[in-house]
Amino acid sequence: MTPIPWTYVRAELRREPLAFMGLSAGLFGAVSILATCWAVPRLPESVLTLLSLSLAVEGLPALVLVNTLLAVWFVAYFVGAVVVIRAIAAPRAENGLDLLLVKPVPPEVFVWSRILPAFGLCAAVGLGLSLTQVIGMWGLFDDQLSAAGALGAGLTTVAVAIAQLGALTALTARSTELAGALGLAIAVFMAVLTPTSVFIYRPDLFPVDGLGRALFVAPTSLILHSELIAWAWPIVMLVGVGVGALGLAWAARRVVVG
């Protein structure tokens, strides 16, 4: 095995304005989350009942959390997705990737050192926003939903986002157009969310309970199983990072064309 060129890896880490991106996206997400924590309890009773029936979760804390989880997931994923696209798809679209790939760096190291900052940024922003939602919901927690459960649910969505970023890296490794790569980024996000949207209108298509239900009706099943998630989230995080790593390994095989 060839030794890892650390100088190169460090140079790649400094390439993106990660702190600026993380802080500005995180600030945006935090404001949205706090606004959601303020607004959802103030919705009319009839709307809350409807939300509760549609998403099959009960209690005000759960209804707030469904909405804030979406914000955590959305911001953490997209801020990472921009770094992912800037790493490989953007230089390819600008006809500059060949120049980068002629360096004496193995494709694996090239992909890892360019994408790991995206995973790190996603995780950092996701952690910050998960904590923000716990702060925003303070005082709402009850015996059905604890602060640890809300934090665990937030970090689980971050794990899903990291797995999605790995998939996005593999899918865009040969994109020649930036717009195409962006479209794929939106599609990868929507793909995981679509079953939940369908569930609202066609609950009859889903199993009543069991693993099938828990996997497909994503954010709400996290809340239903929040006691489990409160301690099991590190396992989900390991799985998420593992899936992300698989995506990177696949991307490394695809990035050099011909």
Binding site: A25, R42, P44, V82, N95, L178, A179, Y201
Partner: protein, 272 residues
Amino acid sequence: MSPAASAVTAAVSNAVTNPALWWMELGRRLGERKSKGLAALYLGALLAAPKLLEKPPPHLLAAAQSWFGGDDPFALFMYVWTDLAMNKLAVVTGIALGAGVLVEERADRSLVLSLSKPITPAGLYALRTGSAVAVAAGLYLITQLAGLGLFAAQIDGFRPGAFWLSGMVHVWAPIFATTLSALCAVAIGRQLGAALVSVLVLFSLVGGAFLGVYNPAWAGALAFNPFTQAVAGVTHLGDQSFATLAPPVVGLLVLNLVLVAVGARLARRVEP
């Protein structure tokens, strides 16, 4: 000014008003892969929407009726079609078509070539944004027209007139998404940074489109949201009229003209 110089000046100022140039630009737009991809998404929405509403839960039917009045299945259909399908597609359309204006050409190094022709950066911006808006609106209206034929047989109590009128107001949602994305592109100057800002802002606005319906106490404060104005055809499903639908359309028209004008002004800063 010499005759040659004034001829060049005339060409510069007239380039954007030349129909042949617009025709070529539109052809180029329609040939782009993202236009074809978007067409596929709109087709998917047409096919999926009736499936989604085959067995609606009773609590949703009751809610749609209490919010929008009108006939039971039709009100819910209009809500789902506009909010779940077309609102989300409007955002995707705007980012796909708008977020690349000028910065995409700069990235593939064709901008320097375009700007060596007798056209100003502002003119080129108007041309590229204009064709993006034309494709966005065209895709939307063709989908709505196809839906008119398709849904009449599939949706109980379908009212073609109300469906079409609502679409004529809501077509301004993808147009707004496109002009805002294009403005972000030239204001920020980096395609992906601009796309990220557009994604965050547009999805937040779209998420709040119906918030004033859920809680009428907030309707006044939330009226600034262009997506709230664009869904007026649904929120006024029971009382669609010139008085309820014309103000949103006029407001959105003015807003979009302002966005294009500001973008054209900022386009001068984009370095080829």
